[in-house]
C-alpha cells in the first residue's frame, strides 16, 4: 500500500530525512518511535502533503502511484488521513459544516453519493460514540474552546468519519491523561481492519500498551536505525534511545 524508498528531505535547507525505507501493507499497524528532532513529524507531514519540505532524493508510492505528486486533498480523497499532533482552532468555521463538506468531497471522489443532512447526522452519531465525544462540540467552530483531550478525540472522530485506507497518527498520545488515552486508543483499535493500515508516530512506549503494533521502527537522525516487533518498544523503554543511537 505504501512504499517509501530512500526518502531524503530538507526543511529550510537543513536535511531532516536522510534515507527512509519503509513498506506498509493493508491491515498492518506500524509504530515509528524516536527521540525529539529525529524527523518523525516531518515524515508524517510529507506523507500528508504539507508544503515547505523539499524532497531531494527517493520516492513514495501509495497504491502504486507517486504520492509526492499529489495535492493534500487528492491524498485525503485517495484515503490518506493524518491525525495532527497539534489540532488547530479555527474560529468561525462550524465543525459540522466543515465535516460534511470534507466527507462529501471524499465520497464524491470515491464515486459514492453525497450524504444528505439526515444520513450525515446518523453517521456522525455513530462515529462520535466510538471516541465517546460529546456531540454538542460539533456545533462549535473547529476545536474552539476544546480541551486537549477533546481535540485529540476530534481527530480520531474525523478519521472514523472519513474512513481512510492509511491513517497516520502523529503523537496522538501527547497531552492525554490516562483515561483519555484509553478512550482514544479504544477508538483507534475499533478502526483496525484488514483493509486499513496505520502508522503510529510516538515518542513514548505508553501508547503501544493500548494499541499493539505489528511492527516497531526506531527513527534517529532521519533514518530508520532499527526495526522489530512490539518487543522492540519495550526494550527501548527500558534502555532509552541512547541504546539505538550509539
Amino acid at each position: 500500500m505504501l512504499v517509501i524508498k530512500n526518502l531524503h528531505a530538507n526543511v529550510d535547507g537543513r536535511e531532516i530525512l536522510r534515507g527512509i525505507d519503509l513498506t506498509v501493507d493493508p491491515g498492518e499497524v506500524h509504530a515509528i518511535m524516536g527521540p525529539n528532532g529525529s524527523g518523525k513529524s516531518t515524515l508524517a507531514h510529507i506523507l500528508a502533503g504539507r508544503e515547505g519540505y523539499e524532497v531531494t532524493e527517493g520516492q513514495v508510492l501509495y497504491q502504486g502511484k507517486d504520492l509526492l505528486k499529489m495535492s493534500p486533498e487528492e491524498r485525503a480523497r485517495e484515503g490518506i488521513f493524518l491525525a495532527f499532533q497539534y489540532p488547530l482552532e479555527i474560529p468561525g468555521v462550524n465543525t459540522t459544516y466543515f465535516l460534511k463538506a470534507a466527507l462529501n468531497a471524499v465520497r464524491k471522489h470515491r464515486g459514492q453519493p453525497e450524504l444528505d443532512a439526515m444520513d450525515f447526522l446518523t453517521l456522525v452519531k455513530e462515529k462520535t460514540k466510538l471516541v465517546e465525544m460529546d456531540q454538542s462540540l460539533l456545533n462549535r467552530p473547529i476545536n474552539e474552546g476544546f480541551s486537549g483531550g477533546e481535540k485529540k478525540r476530534n481527530e480520531i472522530f474525523q478519521m472514523a468519519l472519513l474512513d481512510p485506507k492509511l491513517a497516520i497518527l502523529d503523537e496522538t498520545d501527547s497531552g492525554l491523561d490516562i483515561d483519555a488515552l484509553r478512550v482514544v486508543a479504544g477508538g483507534v483499535n475499533a478502526l483496525r481492519s484488514p483493509e486499513r493500515a496505520m502508522i503510529l508516530i510516538t515518542h513514548y512506549q505508553r501508547l503501544l500498551n493500548y494499541i499493539v503494533p505489528d511492527f516497531v521502527h526506531v527513527l534517529s537522525e532521519g533514518r530508520i536505525v532499527k526495526s522489530g516487533d512490539k518487543r522492540l518498544a519495550l526494550e527501548l523503554e527500558e534502555k532509552g534511545y541512547g541504546w539505538v543511537e550509539g
Binding site: E73, L88, I90, L103, L162
Partner: protein
C-alpha cells in the same frame, strides 16, 4: 469634467421642490455645497478615497420608471426578506411597489415627499436636523436635491416588524444620479427593524448619494441593516446619522458588497444618558473595488455604551478603508466604548488603510480600540485540504469563517439567509481567483 465643472453641473440640477417650509434649509444646503465643492484627498476625512472617478462623468437624474423592478427584486432573492417594504426608484417613491402587510396601527410608512406635505407635524421637528449638511459636501448635496425617499414613524410603545427599504437605480438611459433620503423616527419606547438595500437594475454606471437620519426617543430600540449591493460599476456615497435618546438602543449592521467606489459614513450621537449603540460592519471587495467606511460615535452624555466591530475582506486589486472615531465629550463620564477593526487580505495586491481613533475629554471612562490586518492562516488551509477540501473550498470556508461573527448577528432569518448566499457567492469567486493565482 473636473471637480469645479462637476460642482456647477450639480448646482444647475437644483430643483425647487417640496413645501415652502423646506426651502430655506434646501437653499442653505445648496449654498454649502457650492462653498464646499467636492472633497479631495487633501481633506483629512477623504485622505484614502478619491472621488475623481465620480466627478469625471456628468450624471443626470434618472426617470424613475419602475417597470421591471419587481423582476429584479425577485431575481436577487429580495422578495421575502421582510413582509413590509417600500421602494424608491431613482430617488422617487414608487406607490405601485410598496407592500405593507402587517403594519401596526399608528405607524407611518410612506413617501418622504408626501410626508413633508401631509405630515409636517411629524417631519419638520426632525428633517435635516442630524446629517451635517453644513460641513459635509455629499450630505449638503443630498439635502438640497433629494426629491423623495422614505419616512417611517413609529408611535410610542409600538413595534414595527421588519420593513425593507429598497433603493434602486435604473440607469435606463445612461449614467444617472439619485439622492434618496430616509427619515426614521421612533417615539418613546417603540421598536423597529429596518433593512435598507441599495442596488441597481443591472451592471451599470450610476451614483447613489443617500442620507438616512434615525431618531430614537427615550427607550426606543432600533435594529438596522444596510445591504449595499450596488452595481460593480456604480458609485455609492451615503451617510447614516443616528441620535439616541435616554436608554435608547441602536444596533446597526452595514454590509458593503457592491459598487466600484463606495463611501459609507455611519454616525451616532448619544443625546441622553444610558444609551447603547452597536455598530457592526462587513466590507468585501474584489477586482478594483474601493470601499471606504467612516464611523463616528459621539458620547455626549454620561453612562452610554458603544461597541463597534468592522471587518473587511479584500481580494484582487481592491482597496478597503476603515476610519472609526469615538469622541468622548467632556461631561460623558462612565462612558464604555470599544472599537475593533479586523481585515483579511486575500491577495498581495489588495490594500487596506485602517485608522481607529479615540478622542477623550473625560477621565472617568473605559475605552479601547484596536485594528489588525492579516492573511489566511496557511496551516488552517493545509488542515482543511488534508481532510479532502480543495484549495478553493478551504479558502472559501476560512474566509466565511472570518466574516461569521458579523453575519452571525443578523437577526431576521430570511435576511441572514440571503446575506449568507450573496456572501458565499462573492467569496467563492474570490477564492477561485486566489486559487488560480
Amino acid at each position: 469634467m473636473n471637480a469645479a465643472e462637476a460642482k456647477q453641473h450639480y448646482l444647475k440640477q437644483a430643483p425647487a421642490l417640496g413645501p415652502e417650509w423646506t426651502a430655506p434649509v434646501r437653499r442653505q444646503a445648496l449654498e454649502r455645497f457650492a462653498a464646499l465643492g467636492f472633497p479631495t484627498t487633501h481633506d483629512e476625512d477623504w485622505k484614502y478615497t478619491s472621488v475623481e472617478p465620480l466627478v469625471r462623468i456628468p450624471l443626470a437624474p434618472g426617470l424613475g420608471h419602475d417597470d421591471g423592478v419587481e423582476c429584479r427584486v425577485v431575481d436577487l432573492g429580495l422578495e421575502e426578506v421582510a413582509s413590509n417594504r417600500l421602494v424608491v426608484v431613482d430617488g422617487r417613491f414608487s406607490h405601485r411597489l410598496a407592500r405593507l402587510r402587517d403594519l401596526p396601527k399608528g405607524v407611518a410608512a410612506m413617501s418622504l415627499a408626501e410626508a413633508m406635505r401631509e405630515r409636517r407635524d411629524l417631519v419638520e421637528p426632525h428633517w435635516a436636523r442630524y446629517a451635517d449638511y453644513r460641513n459635509q459636501s455629499f450630505a449638503a448635496l443630498n439635502t438640497a436635491l433629494a426629491e423623495d425617499g422614505v419616512f417611517l414613524h413609529v408611535p410610542s410603545g409600538a413595534t414595527l416588524p421588519p420593513i425593507q427599504l429598497l433603493f434602486i437605480s435604473t440607469a435606463a438611459d445612461g449614467p444617472t444620479v439619485s439622492h434618496p433620503r430616509a427619515l426614521i423616527v421612533l417615539e418613546r419606547g417603540s421598536q423597529a427593524t429596518v433593512i435598507e438595500t441599495y442596488l441597481g437594475m443591472k451592471d451599470d454606471v450610476y451614483w447613489t448619494n443617500g442620507v438616512t437620519e434615525i431618531v430614537l426617543d427615550d427607550n426606543a430600540v432600533f435594529d438596522g441593516y444596510k445591504l449595499q449591493m450596488e452595481s460593480e460599476r456604480g458609485f455609492h456615497i451615503a451617510t447614516q446619522q443616528a441620535r439616541l435618546g435616554r436608554d435608547a438602543v441602536l444596533t446597526s449592521h452595514a454590509f458593503a458588497l457592491g459598487a466600484e467606489l463606495a463611501r459609507n459614513d455611519v454616525n451616532a450621537a448619544f443625546a441622553g444618558e444610558g444609551g447603547d449603540c452597536t455598530l457592526n460592519g462587513l466590507y468585501v471587495t474584489a477586482g478594483f473595488q474601493h470601499v471606504d467606511n467612516h464611523t463616528r460615535i459621539d458620547h455626549e452624555r454620561p453612562r452610554c455604551t458603544s461597541r463597534e466591530l468592522y471587518k473587511g475582506i479584500m481580494g484582487g486589486k481592491s482597496r478597503g478603508v476603515f476610519n472609526g472615531k469615538i469622541y468622548v465629550h467632556e461631561h460623558a463620564e462612565k462612558t464604555d466604548a470599544r472599537q475593533t477593526n479586523r481585515n483579511l487580505l486575500l491577495s498581495e495586491e489588495a490594500w487596506v488603510d485602517t485608522k481607529p481613533q479615540l478622542e477623550i475629554y473625560n477621565n472617568d471612562v473605559k475605552c479601547s480600540h484596536g485594528s489588525t490586518i492579516g492573511q489566511l492562516d496557511e496551516d488552517a488551509v493545509y488542515f482543511l485540504r488534508s481532510r479532502g477540501l480543495d484549495i478553493r473550498a478551504a479558502i472559501g470556508l476560512l474566509t466565511q469563517g472570518f466574516a461569521n461573527d458579523i453575519t452571525g448577528r443578523v437577526k431576521p432569518a430570511p435576511l441572514a439567509e440571503l446575506l449568507e448566499g450573496r456572501l458565499a457567492e462573492k467569496i467563492d469567486a474570490m477564492a477561485q481567483e486566489k486559487e488560480r493565482w
